[in-house]
């Protein structure tokens, strides 16, 4: 960095410019989201538009989500076994693995995986459409690009990412069970007994609700990046990268705030209860 760039004006100017750009982007994303979501309450796209998107985002992501979920469960078993064993609590591994997967790691890691697989692909596809004037062509042919391109992707992510997360959780719990019983020699009854007793409907609800928010965020951020991508191959590549990075950041931010919200909600609903989260 040159001396000139380190002068007070240079640093302040750069900070100001970055802040303004960030505020501009957030505002732009907000307007984009509202304009897109308005279409949910007026006219949904046709089944011929929705179904291929659902297939591409839901069905084609299943394998990668199952593999991710399965290994997360097994890794959790590996990491927690030694510590629990030192307290002679290894029989409780089922509870730890299930609770961690259902309320936290399952939704976050499944969403992260899908931000990479689905989000980047959506941003690149829409970015290419923008660069090759296909989005202008849609408007020229009387179609609203937000309704035609964003709404199906939003619906697919919003509805299917939670379902994919449920699959990831289930396979993760099974993976944990498989490793605990086959490799660590734990009793199958202990694993399932604690897994089912410690995890309540509220934990499942919080994990599932988080994944709905994550799905919506991935769709809107990725579509927004695609719609506003720069020129040429470089612009498309950057849009795909930004879609993943910003989705990941927003997933973590949402995870924190939703975690705090659901913890407080729990005490509001059941003031005398002890939170199991």
């Amino acid at each position: 960095m040159t001396t000139e760039a380190l002068t007070k004006d240079g640093v302040i100017g750069a900070l100001g410019g970055t802040s303004l750009s960030a505020i501009d982007n957030i505002g732009n994303l907000g307007v984009f989201s509202i304009r897109s979501l308005r279409w949910l309450f007026s006219r949904w796209p046709r089944a011929s538009v929705l179904l291929p998107t659902f297939y591409q985002i839901g069905v084609q992501s299943l394998v990668v989500v199952l593999i991710t979920g399965g290994f997360i469960g097994m890794v959790l078993a590996v990491q927690t076994y030694a510590q629990f064993r030192s307290f002679h609590l290894e029989s409780r591994l089922g509870a730890v693995i299930t609770m961690t997967l259902v309320s936290e790691l399952g939704p976050v890691l499944a969403a992260t995986m899908l931000a990479g697989r689905v989000g980047s692909s959506m941003a690149a596809e829409l970015g290419t459409m923008r660069v090759t004037e296909q989005i202008d062509a849609l408007r020229a042919l009387g179609a609203n690009p937000l309704r035609y391109l964003v709404v199906p992707r939003f619906l697919a992510c919003f509805l299917l990412i939670p379902i994919l997360t449920v699959f990831a959780d289930a396979i993760g719990i099974l993976g944990g069970w498989l490793f605990c019983t086959q490799s660590l020699g734990l009793d199958s009854y202990d694993y399932w007994h604690h897994a089912l007793n410690y995890v309540g409907p509220y934990d499942i609800f919080t994990g599932f609700t988080k994944s709905i928010f994550f799905g919506g965020a991935i769709a809107l951020i990725s579509c927004h990046r695609g719609f506003h991508c720069g020129a040429g191959a470089e612009g498309v590549g950057r849009a795909a990268t930004e879609a993943f990075v910003w989705s990941f950041v927003v997933i973590l931010i949402l995870d924190f705030f939703l975690g705090v919200f659901f913890a407080n909600l729990y005490f509001v609903l059941w003031p005398n209860a002890v939170l199991s989260m």
Binding site: E133, Q134, D136, A137, R139, A140, L141, G142, A143, N144
Partner: protein, 282 residues
Amino acid sequence: MTSSLGEVLIEFRAISRSFGEQSVLRDVSFSVRRGETLVLIGESGCGKSVSLKLMMALMEPTSGRILWDGQDAWSLNEQERNRQRLRFGYLFQGAALFDSLNIFDNVAFGLRQNTDLPHSQIQDIVFERLQEVGLRKNVCRQKPAELSGGMKKRVGLARALAMSPDIMFYDEPTTGLDPIMTDVINELIVQTRVRRPVTSVVVTHEMRTVEKVADNVIMLYPLARLEPDESQVVFSGTRAEAFQSNNPRVSQFIRGEAGDRMDELSLQRKQTVRDSATPSAA
């Protein structure tokens, strides 16, 4: 619409358009009359394609007004603007066919979006339009990626014509095509006008296209090489007047001569050589 022959359909009134710091159009005014074929010519980067997008309200001007039949296009609400836009057909520079759809679905797209026509009727229209542009039914199941550049342009034209537009916009319809295909596309533009009473605006820098299709010609000049008080429209007149113009900017462009651009390039080269010969202060 009750306009008669020769009536102004689209009017550019003191239009300026900037992209960030870069100004592309400055205070440009002209009009498109019913039934004419207006050709916009000019060097790359002078704002021809931007003008076309502005005319169709695919892009908002920074200042000025675009009038459709005397009505400001941007004073209409979005729904009405979309409805009005259906009067226009647009052949994009790279055809802009939807990659994920096959050729049939591409051509049928506008009809499915905007009409309740039964499939059989849509199919008839699609086949008819493809035939008009010299393509056979057997391309229908192919994807755009499987077609050549010329075929893509023809499918793009068929798609633009499917809704029977009043006004056709052609954005560099012959760019990147071989001379034979260039002639085919030019002929299709002429034939389109013969078949139906369509008004056309063509953006090009191909003089063969100008010769073959133009009634009237407007030449835009890049802002970077104009004085602040000079008009960006350096020529507006008939095709014959364009080819006979004494304006050096017009005649050089039409003849494809670099003219004073060569002097500029030569000066720049000399300056570069001088700069590289001078020892750096650092």
